[in-house]
Amino acid sequence: GQIYPSERPAEGPANGVRSDVSDVVIGFAQQQLQAPYFAAMQVRAEQIARDQGFQLLFQSANKDPAIQLNQMQAMMAQGADVLVVNATSVKGQTEMMTQVASEIPVVYIDTSVPETGMTSVQSDNLTIGRESGKISAQRLLDMGKTSIKVAILTGPATDEFVGPARRQGFLDGLEEGGLPYEIVAEQSGDYAQDKGQVAAENMLAANPDVDLIFGLNDSMALGAYAVVNGKAQYENVYVAASADGQKEALALIQRDGCEGRYLSTGLNSPSLAAEEALAIAVDVATGKTEPSDYPEESFTLAVGIGCENIEEYYDPNSVF
């Protein structure tokens, strides 16, 4: 026999249409919690569930597709109507998600598995990175630089999609901004502040003449900032991030304004994404819409944040 007899995507909520929002059960399969961005998404999702009164099953997979499958299956066993999934692997979950999506509608958030599920709410990492890159390029041009040496803090080796997009976007942004660059070093900081700091230390020791060190998220860039901050030998090194808009980074940009050394970051709002994805899920579960009503993907707002537009985005009371 076969456990999942069909390969066609589910056409309606797994347990039939619910008449009332309070009967709805939504499973949220998060890919990991190791970075604040993902943690903030959970906090927002739980808030929404409380406000609207549906039941939220939230699990996080530690970046492991195997664990994620187990968790999704457990959610289905508990009667979830719709799944919101932040996939752990873009390429590696195709068959798995085909099987899962044959029994339950799947809304992707942040990271999706192409050709499976009903729709995806993504942040446009390429654009976010590009916008941040442009702002950084402008600042550096204003300082009179005509070309720069760059060091990059990347994600782990398992970072198959989001990281490379952010990296490419940022570099494109530098180019579009009219600033030629040379990459002199590139090391992983695992998206974590402490690992980022250590990697930055090493790269800067090997290449003290770097002009810009940028991280694929704010946590790592903050680590790099801690290295250069207050050290005479690195006074000409500037820091930027391609994405996230983490509170601490925004605070730095806010504090030092256009004199600061933390040049830019990109907005990747966990709250916005969570709101949109859950709205779709609830609509499908209550029969307001059908899975086939949605496009394959939609993007959340993508902007770069620098010293000039920081006021719009900095909120000292936000979780993230």
Binding site: G1, L57, D64, A66, Q78, K91, E95
Partner: protein
């Protein structure tokens, strides 16, 4: 390492010929079984209908089968007094290469490749441990990093989907008499290892080496060859695990098998094996596997907050092992020649 509390009481002179006594003696040692029982009771009370539902049981079996095979590999290594922390990475490498080599055109070829990779890794580990006399921990730590590094290098961190992804996927979810085939493969392996350990000369050698390697050597037991064969067999099992991974997920992801080593060792230990070697049972290892799978499943079913899941899992382990030994500690009081730690 602490003496395993399941070691039978030191002095008993009569032959336990009556079957009843034998069973009751056996039951006394099975504290892993009590932990499992307690877990199942908790599961039944809190989420009975869902937990015992057909869907969930099928899921559980599937979730256990891959780690289950790895636990068996870990068991035979632990029995010799060694440890293999490379099992997770080795599984990952076997899965990725089996998915990618020649494009991964067939499920059967994948099996051969996965076994080959696993066996090769086991052979290298075993050679260094047996013939070079190196600490298993440091050898397999090196292998852990090396194999994982090769996984990344092989696909540049991007998952590798075999050409035969469809066949893998449909094989992975096929059932026989309602039981997932992957689970059947796991149980067959458990049977095979049990046979090898309990019924063959090789098995006795494994236990002898783990219990007292010097006595084993002086008795003329081929210590090095046996150790090597143990690591190779463990490698083959891990390779099989990699293939099962492909069957279940139809893709060789670069995280395949990540952190599996900790869980495998934990399952072996909670199943009553002694990390210093010479004592441990296949049945215990199987129960240990089930325990960890049920814990993970139950935390999911209870929808415990993700932030708290780790904390719950940890607390559960601590409480379980502590409670299970209350009685054993009491027994030890009357028999204090038993070491507190051995």
């Amino acid at each position: 390492m602490t003496a395993t509390p399941t070691v039978p009481p030191v002095h008993h002179h009569e032959e336990d010929t009556s079957r009843g006594t034998a069973i009751s003696t056996w039951l006394k040692g099975q504290y892993a079984l009590y932990i499992l029982l307690a877990l199942l009771i908790v599961a039944t009370i809190t989420r009975g209908s869902i937990f015992w539902g057909r869907t969930n049981l099928t899921n559980l079996l599937l979730q256990m089968s891959i780690i289950g095979v790895v636990v068996l590999a870990q068991l035979i290594v632990v029995l010799t007094g060694g440890i293999d922390i490379s099992v997770g990475s080795a599984l990952g490498l076997a899965a990725v290469v089996a998915a990618g080599l020649f494009g991964g055109p067939s499920v059967l070829l994948g099996l051969v490749v996965a076994l080959g990779i696993g066996g090769l890794i086991g052979a290298v580990n075993g050679w260094l441990v047996a013939f070079r006399g190196l600490e298993p921990f440091i050898v397999t730590l090196g292998m852990l990093a090396l194999a994982r590094g090769l996984v990344y290098a092989y696909g540049n961190g991007i998952p590798i989907n075999p050409e035969a992804a469809d066949s893998y996927a449909s094989f992975g979810q096929s059932t026989l008499l309602g039981i997932p085939v992957l689970a059947l493969i796991w149980l067959a392996m458990a049977g095979l290892i049990a046979f090898l350990l309990y019924r063959t000369v090789w098995g006795r050698r494994v236990y002898a080496i783990g219990s007292n390697v010097e006595a084993a050597r002086s008795s003329g037991i081929p210590v090095k060859a046996t150790l090597w064969s143990v690591y190779i067999l463990a490698g083959l099992l891990v390779g099989l695990g990699g293939w099962l991974f492909l069957a279940r997920f139809a893709s060789g992801t670069s995280t395949a098998g990540n952190l599996l080593e900790l869980e495998a060792i934990a399952a072996v230990v909670i199943g009553g094996a002694r990390l210093s070697g010479g004592y441990g049972k296949v049945f215990g290892a199987v129960v240990g596997t089930i325990i960890f799978a049920v814990i993970a499943n139950l935390l999911s079913l209870l929808n415990v907050s993700t932030f708290l899941q780790d904390a719950f899992r940890g607390a559960l382990i601590l409480v379980a092992v502590t409670l299970a030994t209350v009685q054993i500690v009491r027994k030890r009081k009357t028999n204090p020649t038993q070491p507190a730690t051995a």
